[in-house]
Amino acid sequence: MPHLPITLVETSSKGAVVLIFGVDFHVTDSTGKVTASTIPNEQGDQVAKIETPSKGNIRAAAFSRDGSLFAICTVDKGVYIYETEHWMTVRSLDSEKRSNALAFDPSGEFLVTADKFGDAYRVGTSSDTPAKPQLLLGHVSNLCAIDFSFNERPYVLTCDRDEKLRVSKYPNSYNIQSFGMGHTEFITSVAPARFALDNAVTASGDGTLRLWDMPTGELVQTVEMSKYLAKYYESGAAVCSENTYEDRTAASQRYGVLRVRAVDAIEAFVAVVERIPAVLVFPFCQGKLGEPQVIDIAQPPTDVGVLGDRLVVSYAPKAGGELVVVLKYDGNQYVADDELTAALSLNVTTRETETVSQIPSIFIWGNKMYLERPKGEEGDDQEQE
């Protein structure tokens, strides 16, 4: 029987790797040994049992900067915070709306959730703080990504489906430092970096990575993914599917960037793109993204996590296929890390399913509603109540 694919990868500064599939997740150490899991363990007491949070699939997850806290949010509006020593639940709450992304603030005192109604709320991570989340900021849109910069006076970065990166001060987030505007589709991911304090990179459904100057909101650089990845469509390694009601652009050769993250150890940014069996690593030099190394992988990715100078890539489902692959930096370029890949393959299994479940494209929620409506209803934009 096929196994559930891993959809999200999160890594901590302490070397933990969280692999998320459906409603469950495993935690491994940096050698690939499972140390905690939501699934009752079959290998004895070595594995801490994590309380299974809810019935809803996990939508996003994040570690605090020091790696001592971990949080997830689920599609049924649950938010759960764990401490990472014994993996006990510190706090669980129901958010008002479904959260799409979350991030701990730099101190780890607060968790900030970003919801589909455009609002970001923050809640204390210690159990003696008020359990009611407080509104931090809001967009009139659908929030897709959130993170904090590494500046001494940090910015909170929120990205929305209407193409905007908002850079706000923190905690006085009513004070907007700048907007980063240039994307032409929803933003999926944002990556601040320790090695470029004033910069952030965003990933989008428009097939680009964009490098921003946060204090001014200036667009410094745009990287078109098609330049490096068109060959995957030409060779047939990436395939278009058919347009459907939910996904009106599925038949086009599009480059939906799933994730961008900073690789602090080698001062680079890594990105993965829906459908394309490759990982791109862009060195950051002289304030710009340089020519990337494009590393072929066996299957299209679902996410990428950064473990020191290693990259943990989860695979889109394929019967009998592997769940993850690890790449390591050999001082010059990225190559397969066979050792850790093998350890993870051996130790990590996910729940079995009847059929190989397809992971819905990011364009299904990223496309604007009116694209899905029959034509000629433009004037009918009044409230239906």
Binding site: G118, V140, N172, S173, Y174, G217, K368, Q384
Partner: protein, 343 residues
């Protein structure tokens, strides 16, 4: 309405500009701002082609973008010499003078925004008071935008025609304003000829209505696509949709999260004018504005002499409707201040 019809009929017997009629442009008052509607909006403020809205101030992007150049064919706002008897002109004193002085040096840019401008009464009233300041009315209802843009183009057309005549009379902005300040204290009577509503069609006005325009946008979503940080010196939120239901409160034009965006596009010292006839909405707005760290309430006595105030109170269609029904209007003005949390 009656006055408008007569006047436009009288002045457009020959071929010439024609004022549009409101009754052809009615649209339901409520719009769901969260709906995705295909709207034209620029990726960022530099991409917006303002020449379509202010042809006297901007060249189309393809030519010489972003500079204030006068079109030779289209006489621009009066130079000091022909400004309605210059010394008694209002623009010699008060905020108009200041803004005129600043805008002439730097490239032209919009400085006033009327959020939810409706039929544009405020813009038409303000245009001659700040003849060198670009103002934009933003409205999400497409029919109203069409109406207002046609109206502005007609008014510009009248002005153009008047400029060609040697002996055209200038409107006395100052006495007109004084009249209105006096009128502030007495409610408008039903059918009385309403000030402002039509704009001047028989006399020249400073600015010639070249400084106002209407655009269709969802302000709550795309404001920063049009304006840079600190670009606006005045923002007007007049008689907004009250959105009474509790679950619609996020859609209100003033909310904690929206105020952050308004504060972003406004410069320090800029003024936000808010007026409504709904007590509940006023209380809500005032409580949010009072709690918002980047805005500070302007005491009523400091507002005396602000030439924008009579326009805010009386010039809009909603404002007149309320006056006619002898309703009460609640005015609150706020100044954009520096962030107290920053030092």
């Amino acid at each position: 309405m009656a006055a408008e019809d007569n006047e436009s009929a009288a002045t457009s017997q020959q071929q010439g500009p024609k004022l549009p009629q409101k009754r052809f442009f009615r649209q339901r008052a409520h719009v769901n701002i969260f709906n995705d509607v295909p709207l034209d909006y620029p990726v960022n403020p530099d991409e917006e082609d303002w020449s379509k809205l202010y042809p006297a101030y901007f060249r189309p992007h393809t030519e010489d973008a972003q500079t204030a150049v006068c079109d030779a064919k289209r006489p621009l706002s009066p130079s000091a010499a022909d400004e309605a008897g210059s010394d008694e002109s209002l623009s010699k004193r008060g905020p108009a003078a200041a803004s005129a002085a600043t805008t002439e040096k730097v490239p032209a840019q919009v400085e006033f925004a009327d959020i939810g401008c409706g039929y544009g009464g405020l813009l038409v009233a303000l245009a001659p008071l700040y003849p060198n300041t670009l103002m934009v009315g933003m409205e999400i209802r497409v029919k109203l935008v069409d109406y207002l843009q046609q109206r502005i183009e007609a008014l510009r057309g009248f002005q153009h025609g008047l400029l060609l005549k040697k002996d055209a009379e200038w409107v006395d902005v100052r006495s007109k304003l004084l009249q209105e300040i006096a009128a502030l204290n007495q409610p408008l009577v039903g059918d009385e000829d309403e000030l402002h509503d039509n704009g001047e069609t028989t006399r020249l006005v400073p600015g010639h209505y070249e400084n106002i325009a209407a655009m269709r946008i969802n302000c709550q979503k795309y404001l920063p696509n049009f304006f840079k940080k600190g670009q606006l010196s005045k923002m007007f939120i007049l008689f907004a949709d009250p959105h009474f239901k509790r679950r619609k409160h996020k859609a209100r034009i003033i909310s904690t999260t929206m105020l952050a965006e308004y504060a972003y596009v406004m410069r320090t010292g800029g003024i936000l004018y808010m007026i409504t006839d709904v007590k509940d909405l006023c209380d809500w707005s005032v409580s949010h504005l009072d709690a918002f760290p980047l805005f500070e309430r302007i005491p009523d006595e400091e507002l005396i002499g602000d030439p924008a105030i009579p326009c805010v109170v009386n010039s809009t269609e909603e404002g007149k409707k309320v006056a006619r029904n002898k309703g009460k209007k609640y005015l609150a003005c706020y100044r954009r201040i520096e962030d107290p949390a920053e030092n």
